[in-house]
Amino acid sequence: MGRFITFRLLQAVPVILAVITVTFFLVRVAPGGPFDSEKAVLPEVKAALEAQYRLDLPLFQQYVAYLGDLAQGDFGPSFKYPGRSVNELIEAGLLVTAELGLYALLIATLIGGVAGIFASLKPNTDQDYVPMTLAMIGICMPTFLLGPLLVLIFGIRLEWLPVTGWGDIPGDKILPSISLGAAYAAYIARLSRAGMLEVLSQDYIRTARAKGLPERQVVLKHALRGGLLPVVAFLGPAFAGLLAGSFVVETIFQIPGLGRFYVQAAFNRDYTMILGTTVFLSTLIVLFNLLSDVLAASLNPRLRHQFHTGGMP
């Protein structure tokens, strides 16, 4: 297992490096700089500012210097908010976004997983059609549509739940988490149903029944492990998607999370903030994918065996 993890970590490095490099140069190439929108400043002041932020150096030197800072864990100062470092800002936003993502993932996995399993037990009956149609709607209704709709129904018309903020009013975490998690709940429902159906048609399920075991044991003990594998494998990409897509929900519900900071930074051409957020999020995403692969492997004894022998099945 250790070999596997090391190998994957090594693979992750070029990815992250690519992300840093592409983002760095992309942002610089774009028209407009961080100080252009300021009210007209004297050229000398502008030059001084640029020198302070290293913007007067050749691009490549800036790049190398940035990498050096990164290696020490320093994302640099924010261009937009003088006096505050990107690290600070990321930290502040991260807690919020991570919590949002976690709740959404929990909702998605629990609701989706259970729905899918339930549907798989009686395929092609109402027990199957109803949850799966709901799931399809969940997939087809984008977050930016579902969010406002939920706000309209539960926040404005029914006035049951608050619609802005995070942690300010009790219950204000419900709607955003549901909006974010709904689409993933739908995907997970379909995945778990498909996985369970596949497993339930396997010979070893017939063997389990032939042993006279009650259906509940057959499903829970024999089928679940194999059937939910695709769901576990999906968790990594799911969390990644949640992180990346959180900014929509954060915008709609006005949540001070990382996603919202990112969009603002993009509009403001706050280079360091953009870079910092992108690198950070990408690293998180890569790590999560790794985690989910490891989890999936540990659940599948055959794959585990492969890792011990270094890849030979």
Binding site: A18, V27, M136, C140, M141, P142, T278
Partner: protein, 295 residues
């Protein structure tokens, strides 16, 4: 005696009617048929919109302002007095256009890439798929937003960005298909008959991989549409005076308290379309008996 052999050869020539079989199965799937019907209606509407839309797409009536559904405006009007039905119809055109174009781009790149990687195998395959893996791991959402913000609202860029995201999955699937097909009998037969690689790929591998390709294409289109709507929603995609469902939804979200129909109808249009396409894609997947990229 030669009659036995001749008989054998004639039998060999009769192909399997995989497609007929699939069509029958598809027809039995109510959801898929529903999806197909909606899709066809939508395409017809989109094509005929300039002629059948009740109003011109840029016709405003500022005095009227936003009104709920009425006899003259079946789906109401927005704050500029524009007819919502017309807006939604034109939005449909855009959605479909983006869907088809971006998907074709993704399809062409993805299928070619995957077919070559899968067929040639070895180091070439490793390199090609490693590239796909790296690109796959990049958080594209983030990049796209970055791109769009930074480079402005260029519709070409939009297509490119969307295509760039979607071709990866297609490549992976195609490669998986080619790999498993390559080991099968008829490919070995073709190889031992001395056919060149190009021919084998073109005449034997691609037609047999057609099943999954069709399914994933049908599933990519809604994905692409969603992406476009999303970008337009953020203000990064289609720009006024062109319409897009994403744009309409974003306006609707802003004013949904007073004018909920501005959110609901475009939302329904988008959801219904995606719904239909996805069901159709699912139905095709079942009918053609396609599994995911298994080993």
């Amino acid at each position: 005696m030669s009659s036995t052999a001749g008989e054998l050869l004639r039998e060999a020539e009769k192909g399997t009617s995989l497609w007929q079989d699939a069509w029958i199965r598809l027809k039995k799937n109510r959801f898929a048929v529903f999806g197909l019907v909606v899709l066809v209606l939508m395409m017809l509407t989109a094509l005929l919109t300039p002629w059948i839309a009740p109003y011109a797409y840029d016709a405003q009536n500022l005095d009227l302002g936003a009104t709920p559904p009425s006899a003259q405006h079946w789906l109401g009007t927005d704050i500029f007095g524009r007819d919502m039905l017309t807006q939604i119809m034109y939005g449909g055109r855009v959605a479909l256009a983006v869907g088809l174009i971006a998907t074709s781009v993704a399809l062409t790149i993805g299928v070619t890439w995957g077919a070559i990687a899968g067929y040639v195998g070895g180091r070439t395959d490793a390199v090609m798929m490693r590239l796909v893996d790296i690109l796959y791991a990049l958080p594209f959402m983030i990049f796209i937003v970055l791109l769009m913000v930074v480079f402005g609202r260029n519709i070409i860029l939009l297509f490119l960005a969307i295509g760039a995201v979607e071709w990866l999955t297609m490549a992976r699937i195609m490669r998986g298909q080619v790999q498993s097909l390559r080991q099968q009998e008829f490919v070995e037969a073709a190889v031992s008959l001395g056919l060149p690689a190009r021919t084998i790929i073109r005449r034997h591998l691609i037609p047999n991989a057609l099943g999954p390709i069709i399914v994933y294409t049908t599933l990519t289109i809604p994905s692409v549409m969603l992406l476009e709507a999303f970008l337009s929603f953020l203000g990064l995609g289609i720009q006024p005076p062109q319409t897009s469902w994403g744009l309409l939804i974003s306006y609707g979200a802003e004013t949904m308290e007073e004018y909920p129909w501005l959110l609901i109808y475009p939302g329904m249009a988008l959801t219904l379309t995606l719904f239909s396409l996805n069901f159709l894609g699912d139905g095709l997947r079942d009918a053609l008996d396609v599994r995911g990229s298994k080993d």
